[in-house]
Subunit: 328 residues, 2 copies
């Protein structure tokens, strides 16, 4: 809410995944550059009077198309060296939602999730059924190779098992403990508040390296990979999917906000709860329906960016925030 | 908790699905008979010192094997007239969980979910990947025909579309409005508290008649189809899956219990919330970690049974409870 006019200030946040990103200049630049580009795309939708749900879809498409991130183009490879993707989108007015899981050969899984929301009586379609629906909707099937990047292949070679990937990316480390050197990446997501007071979220991912075929993480699941409700706000999560599901991380944050905590307090408390209760790590971006922003992560790094009142904020490391002016 | 000894009283509840069950004597008898049989199986596990998670798995296997219920043998048919099943199991100590969705040719999906929990680093496996895992574990693949009952075929003929099924089974009706005549059935589930203070839940379903291939409902999703935490209690849900997912019904009930509401108050409040927020219906069974029991449903009927301190309670209609003594 803009205090001077009483109008709602359009707001958007995106993340490029919370994980044990090593301290490499190129990696930092491409990740931060990617989230900054995506947040601008979503903000333009909002400033032009578009809805929160259109904004998060546009921002997440931008991240899916960017090979730097583990979603759409750039997704990790499973144990069979195949790409299986999960995505979700939700709007906070009537709590409408759509999701796909374990879908293959789709360039923009989040837009397919949007079609599930808009065109079916269902919320979640998985596997071959999701691909049958895509065909029905005229969504092109793309060859798997077009989604696979050299980085995804390299990473699959480096981390031969799922357990190894989890340990390297999400293990809770002591302060000063070395971050494992790797070329990983994680889930992307966006949350938005539009000028009419509608909130929305979207999350999209290729999952975790070397996962079993058919493995689905938290990302496409309402309450785990994200949640939104106009009466409260919106959340998108990232991190160790199995751990996030066990605590229903997104719904947990909503609960804290309902209890009166700020978006930042709710985000911090929920990430701490996940550390305490299931000893694993992740990150969240949050917007409250009053325009408050929150973000928190227990991994080494999470690329994020926000845009509100023509101010672009972004960061990668804990307690790091850069600001610049940005006008459409 | 037993007030006289300070010991924890083993407790189990099961449900056979909340839906617009018509008022037919045979249907009532088979449904109530089925949940009474299942709750006894689970109670025997508890009384013999077994764990809550073993008890809920045993009870749900019993319901999956019973052709009266829509889970395992007796599952409904999707739009392609095929059986695709979802199941989940969770224990409340470390929040470990396993689930399968859109799995075919498995007699006891909940036991496959248990294997996901016990034998993998994952929580949820879907579609062909879930069946590949079943093969790896030596779980037999059964011909689909062995899971299909004449009732499921009849129902599929009667209700040609998913939307029709939803309207008939879960639409919020005015008082005195006629219940549609049909031969439906729904999701099964169990919650338990063992003598060591561990809680668990399990839910299993064939989904909803005429669903799209690949459609997954709330049942296998942690926080929607159920939730449990030794610090609070356990919940299993049933009803209109898409609506349950949108409100994360199980996690919502946990939240109310954490706020101090009794198991019954939390269950009633959450079902009312679902009616208000997404205008659809369902049912829940709940046990708090102090042994309190709750159950609530907004559909016409829900077959349920509970066993605690050698007292077997059961019912089918709103505000109906029968009691009898039962000793192992």
């Amino acid at each position: 809410m803009d205090d001077t006019t009483g109008e709602i200030t359009p707001t958007i946040l995106v993340h490029g995944g919370a994980w044990a990103m090593p301290d490499e200049t190129e990696l930092a630049e491409t990740n931060v550059g990617g989230v900054k580009a995506a947040v601008k795309v979503g903000y333009e939708v909002l400033v032009n009077g578009g809805s929160a749900v259109d904004a998060v879809e546009s921002a997440v498409r931008c991240l899916e198309d960017n090979p730097v991130f583990n979603a759409g183009h750039g997704s990790v490879l499973n144990s069979l060296k195949e790409v299986e993707m999960d995505a979700v989108i939700m709007e906070g007015d009537h709590l409408n939602a759509g999701a796909v899981a374990c879908v293959q050969n789709i360039a923009n899984p989040d837009s397919l999730a949007r079609l599930v929301m808009d065109k079916t009586d269902h919320v979640l379609l998985v596997g071959q059924g999701a691909n049958m629906f895509a065909t029905e909707m005229g969504v092109p099937s793309v060859p798997m190779e077009t989604l696979v990047t050299p980085n995804a292949v390299k990473r699959r070679e480096e981390m031969k098992t799922y357990n190894q990937a989890i340990k390297k990316q999400y293990e809770i480390r002591k302060i000063d403990e070395a971050v494992p050197v790797q070329t990983g990446h994680d889930t992307v997501g966006a949350v938005a508040l539009d000028s009419k007071g509608n909130v929305a979220f979207a999350t999209s991912t290729g999952g975790i390296n070397a996962k079993r075929p058919g493995r689905v993480g938290d990302s496409p699941l309402i309450g785990s990979g994200g949640y939104c409700d106009n009466r409260v706000g919106a959340v998108s999560t990232t991190g160790h999917g199995e751990a996030i599901m066990k605590v229903c991380l997104a719904k947990h944050i909503m609960q804290y906000m309902e209890q009166g905590y700020t978006a930042q307090e709710a985000s911090d408390k929920a990430i701490q709860y996940m550390t305490d209760r299931v000893q694993s790590s992740g990150g969240v971006i949050t917007v409250k329906n009053n325009g408050e922003i929150g973000l928190s992560f227990s991994t080494e790094r999470m690329a994020w960016a926000s845009l509100q009142s023509n101010t672009l904020n972004y960061g990668l490391n804990p307690d790091e925030k850069s600001s610049e002016k940005y006008t459409i």
